[in-house]
Amino acid sequence: MKRYVILIAYRPWDWASATPQVRQTYFDAHDAFQHYVDEHGAHLGSAALGDADTATTVRTAAGDTRTVTDGPFAELAEQIGGYYDVELPDLDSAITAARLLPSAYTVEIRPVIRVEGYDPQ
């Protein structure tokens, strides 16, 4: 089994302007995805995220000061709207699962790696 984080990029207004019927197709697609994952591997975690305009950025400025700013307000057509953390046999099964998600999404599949020398407590 390999572990993948599946990042979902979407256009917020697609969702905001979606009719109840369209929203139901999104829910159905997520159900199909979860069903596939349960059948072929394991669902370790997932979340839907607030839009980028609700984000807060902590970054190290001059010296070692950690500054806090509002947003990133990235001027991108798409933004990350959620993720799934799953275990599946290989990339092909991850691709098959990703294809089940709503077609309006752009989906990025990232393998989870173990960082050499770091053992979390």
Binding site: K2, P89, D90, D92, P111, I113
Partner: protein, 418 residues
């Protein structure tokens, strides 16, 4: 055969099978290729001393297996973890060598290897380099020369590809029957990219690396042998053989480009032409894959050239029909440019020039478009406009030999006017 020749022949013929067998057993792409390279080195020493073994490929496989096991043992010692890993590997090594007739299984493993290297999650240039290296055993230096990059760049590209396969979990496996044709289409595109790399050089004196394009033909042959009824592979092999059959006639003894009508047709490889025609004959009439149909139509065009006794006898009427079908399938600017050239041959330069007019917006940087226009203007009796078009083509052309050819043509036109 000397021991060295025997080793070269074994590596050339068996590399993909050996990589596939080792991968099937150990699933460690990071170890397999190095282990095999070490085994070949050991073979070079031992075979010179003791003679060529009875079964050279089996000798290399055993030597490579030992090296993988050594590495796995060393890893275990270093980590003092997972002692079961080596036991597992040794147990499966014992099973592997005990396998009585691995014929079919080996073929499956080679197909797994081809599909792994040509996975759509790998960039096409990475995939084609990996397939040439791992499936047909082309040395990294030769792949670098084929793709016109320095050897360290190609070595880094191969390393990146292998890391992606391992880290992203690209499977060493065959998808189910519904997904396989699409995946074989990706294999075909990857092989075609490698083939054209040898014929479409960027710049410099190394105009044709056709010997290296032959390695891409070998990749298609290996894959077609595993899936002999796959239309996309049949059509692609036919197309490649027809194009490749002209390699010896494309450059004159001074290294200058020779265009199709001026080529010495006795230097074409007729055995390859007839093999290609057989392949086209065997293909089913109806093909569902647009990619397969596109390769087939291009092969039909190439077959018309290959079977014309002289350039003057070329059946341009039939070529135009094939191009019409091709444009309907894929109206890309490059296809339309080729179709315009064929139209000019059938209906005269004016018809070709009219067809070119629609292409300027789509091909703003192409040197081929003004080169073709210059040639057609010259034939239409407009040398001044022809020279102007050739000037633009020369300015845009990045390849020494092609630019040299355009400059000579320009000089002829200027001389003709005086």
């Amino acid at each position: 055969m000397t021991p060295d020749e025997a080793l070269v022949a074994t590596v050339r013929g068996e590399w993909g099978r050996l990589v596939a067998l080792l991968l099937a057993q150990f699933r460690r792409l990071d170890l397999v290729e190095d282990a095999l390279a070490d085994a070949v080195e050991a073979g070079a020493r031992t075979w010179r001393r003791d003679g060529v073994p009875d079964r050279p490929a089996a000798w290399l496989l055993t030597a490579a297996r030992r090296r993988v096991l050594d590495r796995l043992r060393a890893e275990t010692m270093a980590a003092r973890k997972e002692p079961l890993l080596v036991v597992d590997a040794e147990a499966s090594a014992a099973r592997g060598s005990a396998r009585a007739d691995p014929g079919d299984l080996v073929d499956d493993d080679v197909l797994r290897l081809v599909l792994m290297c040509c996975h759509p999650a790998l960039a096409p240039d990475v995939a084609s380099a990996l397939a040439l290296r791992l499936v047909v055993g082309v040395p990294t230096a030769d792949i670098a020369r084929l793709f016109l990059v320095p050897e360290p760049t190609m070595a880094a590209r191969l390393t990146r590809g292998k890391r992606k396969i391992v880290t992203a979990g690209i499977p060493f496996g065959v998808p189910d029957a519904t997904a396989l044709p699409e995946r074989l289409g990706v294999v075909a595109q990857v092989a075609y990219l490698a083939f054209t790399a040898g014929y479409a050089p960027g710049s410099g004196p190394d105009l044709l690396r056709a010997d290296l394009s032959g390695e891409a033909v070998r990749l298609v042959r290996v894959t077609l042998a595993l899936r002999p009824d796959e239309p996309v592979l049949q059509a692609l092999l036919a197309l490649l053989l027809l194009q490749h059959s002209r390699r010896d006639a494309r450059v004159d003894p001074d290294g200058r480009l020779v265009l199709l009508p001026d080529q010495d047709r006795t230097r074409w490889h007729l055995d390859e032409v007839s093999e290609a025609l057989d392949l086209l004959e065997r293909m089913p009439a109806a093909v569902t894959s647009p990619l397969a149909e596109s390769y087939r139509l291009q092969a039909y065009v190439a077959a018309e050239h290959a079977t014309a006794i002289t350039a003057a006898e070329t059946r341009w009427d039939r070529i135009c029909r094939h191009y019409d079908a091709l444009v309907a399938l894929n109206p890309s600017p490059a296809v339309r440019l080729a179709a315009a050239v064929a139209l000019a041959e059938r209906d005269g330069p004016r018809a070709g020039l009219d067809a070119l007019d629609e292409l300027d917006a789509a091909l703003p940087h192409s040197h081929r478009l003004p080169a073709v226009r210059g040639e057609l203007l010259a034939r239409a009796g407009e040398p001044a406009a022809a020279v102007e078009a050739l000037d633009l083509a020369i300015a845009r052309c990045g390849n020494d030999v092609e630019r040299d050819h355009l400059s000579r043509r320009r000089a002829e036109l200027v001389a003709g006017r005086e």
